[in-house]
């Protein structure tokens, strides 16, 4: 049990503290940092998917007026560590995927840099590449672990036996294969860095777009052999990340290399939107083979998910897609496996709710199919499989209100009166439902500093606000922990000059940084009382915050979708989307709602629009820009509402809050597929749901 804060500022829907800067456009993002006399970088990328660079003719580039330097694998500085092959830029002539960085031009202007980069002539010894994922790829292997440290495979009981035994008395078995597409995070702010190397002081300053200044610095120090004291990373504002700025990518290392080639001169490197499809991470496509067995009352006897996905040949990222099926529903027999193909492709990475996002697609559509086979209401089917304790660990839940979310959502949405293939004019109408889940995580390290100065409480922590609201909600938490008005509290973030903070990832920011701030605030009160003197100061570590390991902490939710499918054209519209969530105590309803509806809308985007169309012949995304990589736009959304239960969880942290940044995107795509099925009778098992998949099956 934690000592829950008495909420005063917590729970208030305060307007964003950084809001005015953002609506004026004067919040400074990385590449916009005002620096004296900047130079501009433009990368050179490989145009083969596998091979060796045999020569680079840079004569035309260096001859251009305004070109300051051209770096290639043949003359770039040697890095201190090349252990992480993604970061080992310009260290060898090997090409591991199309679009890999093989050079950079630094010039007086961005126009000249780009022209010069285009004029570099590259000769390759091209080799045959393998860039096509298949469920029976001969190179499939079992990774040691999957992302976030989860076991690769789990097994309990005997799924095969349960599937082989004919289900008596009207029980059913179900075997289906589902797939999700390749997705690119595509934050609106392209990955970008301003970098300055002071050779005399041996000091590097990076203004980088990152979800964590301290992890960013640690990676740069490792690669360049620098001490932490030699590097400062500054990032007050991030133009979105969704995981792609959670770890630095190769562009950051290239920017540092360019800065070190031009000591004393700040350099700017912003990826183009097209380059982001090669260099900024992405979500692997997934193939999910599901098995379910249930008795006639719908109680699961077996649940299994066998996942096939890809990683790059040079660096492993194993998305933990099978993880949510391990804990969502009760079943005596369970199995989950992950197998990877290491291909000549760009390096996959985190994208909003890695694991849970794709991993709540197959299972939640399968539950809908099972409900249909059994003639059960899909809400009721889920309720009947509610586990008493976490099936994976056997621990009691810190709080689990999935059933309440389902019931509350059904009531609000009008689920009982749901249409099944009702035709309204030219449109077929159906409702769908799916569950949402996200683990409540706290990172191991974060420190907050708190002092009293000039009548105000000033906290510092190297946290990040990628639009989540950290600038606004961290003062709310600190104020309640101190027992003062939120207007008397400043919290400064986004700079390695402040104490170490963990990455804004895994929906763990508020839990981690907030806990550190609470520790600091309570220690401050203990030491200095209610009337501190100017300059009184103390720090607090997250590892001093109460941590409960006896319970399984998760946030849950239920999403309801109305789909309308045009009976003649197959056009799919989603006029209504409702999410009901149990996410603990909400710190700021205004910003929390934005995060939840933002996640749900991104889930809608995944369901209907997003698809990185992979061309295995050349090894690249064919639709690598925002004209052809479609994301949901304004006219695609109708009513989207997120509500939350009044949930009391005494085990997660002093705020009583669970993470909210990612749960919104989990389950949404399944709910859309289930609604389209209800409307049309067509079951789409491979995302996205597009009209060509629906049209042949329309009544």
């Amino acid at each position: 049990m934690t000592d829950l804060l008495e909420p005063r500022a917590i729970g208030q829907g305060l307007v964003r503290r950084d809001g005015e800067l953002k609506v004026r456009g004067t919040a400074t993002y990385a590449v916009e940092t005002p620096v004296e006399n900047p130079a501009y970088c433009h990368p050179v990328q490989a145009t083969v998917a596998r091979g060796r660079v045999t020569a680079m003719d840079t004569a035309a580039a260096t001859a251009l007026d305004g070109v300051l330097a051209v770096l290639t694998p043949f003359d770039a500085e040697r890095l201190a560590s090349t252990e992480d092959a993604e970061y080992a830029v310009l260290q060898s002539d090997e090409v591991a995927f199309r679009g890999q960085l093989i050079g950079v031009v630094i010039a007086e202007t961005s126009e000249v840099a780009r022209q010069a980069a285009d004029s570099v002539r590259v000769t390759y010894d091209e080799q045959e590449h393998d860039a096509e994922l298949a469920v029976d790829h001969p190179g499939l292997y079992k990774p040691e672990k999957v992302n976030a440290g989860h076991e690769t495979d789990t097994a309990e009981g005997d799924v095969a036996a349960a599937m082989a035994t004919p289900q008596r008395d009207g029980g059913v078995t179900l075997e289906r294969t589902y797939s999700t597409a390749m997705y690119h995070n595509n934050p609106l702010e392209p990955h970008a860095t301003t970098a300055l190397w002071d050779a005399d002081a041996q000091f590097l300053t990076l203004w980088d777009s990152t979800q964590g200044v301290h992890p960013d610095r640690a990676a740069v120090c490792e690669v360049f052999g620098l001490e932490q004291e030699q590097v400062r990373v500054v990032c007050p504002y991030v133009g979105g990340g969704f995981g792609s700025k959670g770890t630095p990518h190769a562009n950051v290392m290239l920017a540092v290399m360019a800065a070190r080639a031009l000591p004393g001169r700040p350099v700017k490197l912003a990826l183009t939107r097209q380059q982001m499809f090669f260099l900024a991470g992405y979500r692997t496509p997934t193939i999910q083979q599901m098995q379910l067995a249930a008795d006639r009352r719908g109680r699961l006897q077996a649940i299994a998910i066998d996942v096939v996905e890809q990683t790059s040949r040079i660096k492993e990222f194993a998305e933990q897609t099978g993880v949510p099926a391990r804990m969502m529903y009760a079943s005596p027999n369970r199995r989950s496996t992950h197998r990877l193909a290491a291909l000549d492709v760009p390096v996959p990475s985190w994208m909003r709710a890695p694991g849970e996002c794709p991993g709540m697609f197959g299972p939640e559509v399968a539950m809908d199919e099972l409900a249909e086979e059994l003639g059960l209401d899909p809400v009721e089917l889920r309720v009947r499989n509610e586990p008493e304790v976490d099936p994976e660990t056997g621990k009691p839940w810190s709080s689990r209100n999935l059933v309440r979310c389902l019931r509350e959502g059904a009531e609000r949405f009008g689920w009982a009166e749901r249409p099944r293939g009702r035709r309204e004019g030219d449109w077929l109408v159906g409702y769908g439902v799916a569950s949402s889940v996200y683990p409540t995580m706290r990172q191991a390290t974060s420190t907050a500093n708190l002092r009293y100065a000039d009548g105000r409480y000033v906290a510092e922590i190297g946290a990040a606000d990628l639009g989540t609201g950290a600038w606004t909600i961290l003062p709310q938490i600190t104020a309640d922990a101190l027992g003062v008005d939120v207007g008397d509290v400043d919290v400064r973030i986004g700079d390695t000059q402040y104490p170490t903070a963990s990455v804004a990832g895994g929906s763990s920011g508020t839990n981690t940084w907030g806990s550190a701030l609470v520790v600091a605030a309570r220690a401050f009160r203990d030491k200095f009382g209610g009337s501190p003197d100017d300059g009184d100061e103390i720090s607090g570590d997250v590892d001093q915050a109460a941590k409960d390991d006896a319970h399984a902490p998760y946030a849950f939710g239920a999403q309801f979708v109305e789909a309308r499918v045009n009976a003649d054209t197959g056009e799919i519209r989603v006029p209504r989307l409702l999410g009901v969530f149990g996410v603990g105590r909400v710190i700021n309803p205004r910003t929390a709602r934005s995060q939840l509806i933002g996640g749900m809308t991104m889930g809608l985007s995944m369901a209907l629009h997003e698809n990185s169309v992979w061309d295995p012949r050349i090894g690249q995304v064919a639709n690598h820009d925002l004209a052809e990589y479609h994301i949901t736009v304004n006219a695609d959304v109708g009513e989207i509402e997120a509500v939350w239960l009044d949930e009391h969880d005494p085990y997660v942290n002093a705020m009583g809050s669970k993470g909210i940044g990612e749960i919104g995107i989990t389950g949404t795509a399944a709910a859309v597929v289930n609604a389209v099925h209800a409307a049309t009778g067509v079951r789409v098992r491979d995302l996205p749901v597009t009209l060509d998949k629906v049209l042949p099956g329309l009544p």
Binding site: V15, V23, R24, L188, E189, R593, M602, N634
Partner: protein, 168 residues
């Protein structure tokens, strides 16, 4: 090749030298140090660079600066006058019509342009009656704002913010 041009930016006369390949967006961001219009794609696909160009919303990444000598440009920063936010900016704050803030200046310039287009009676793709005055409905605003992508997906807050600012 370079060219000397003059721009009126947020009420100030600015003289500058540009490469003839310099977009209006890069002229503002890289030459004049005005970061308000954002670069999200540089191809007219995302709307983050939207400014008001001689009073109308325009994609500054698709305009060559050299072709706009003498133009009157308003960025989102310039919409705020004498420390007072524009009604569209206030509505965006109140409705939390953004998260990361990167598409926001473009959304706001676009919204100001949209409201003006309504006042002029311009129809859109979803206007049913082309002979009457279009009404500032949800669908009309959503349609007209669809050139401005928001990856944080604040759309359900953006549309009512624009309607509210327009006095609908």
């Amino acid at each position: 090749m370079d060219a000397d041009i003059t721009l009126r930016v947020d009420g100030e006369t600015r003289r500058l030298t540009v490469d003839t390949r310099t977009s209006l967006l890069d002229a503002l961001r890289e030459r004049l140090g005005n970061p308000s219009p954002k670069k999200g794609c540089d191809h007219g696909q995302c709307g983050a660079c939207t400014i008001l160009l001689d009073g109308q919303r325009a994609l500054s990444c698709l305009a060559l600066a050299v072709a706009y000598d003498g133009a009157e440009i308003t960025t989102a920063d310039g919409l705020a006058r004498d420390g007072e936010l524009h009604p569209v900016q206030r509505a965006f704050l109140e409705r939390d019509a953004f998260q990361c803030g990167y598409c926001t200046p473009g959304q706001i310039c676009s919204a100001v342009g949209v409201i003006d287009e309504f006042e002029k009676g311009w129809p859109s793709h979803v206007t049913e009656d082309l002979t009457g005055e279009p009404e500032i409905t949800h669908d009309e605003v959503a349609e007209r704002m669809s050139g401005n992508l928001c990856r944080c997906a604040a759309y359900v807050n953006i549309t009512p913010a624009v309607q509210e600012a327009a006095g609908a």
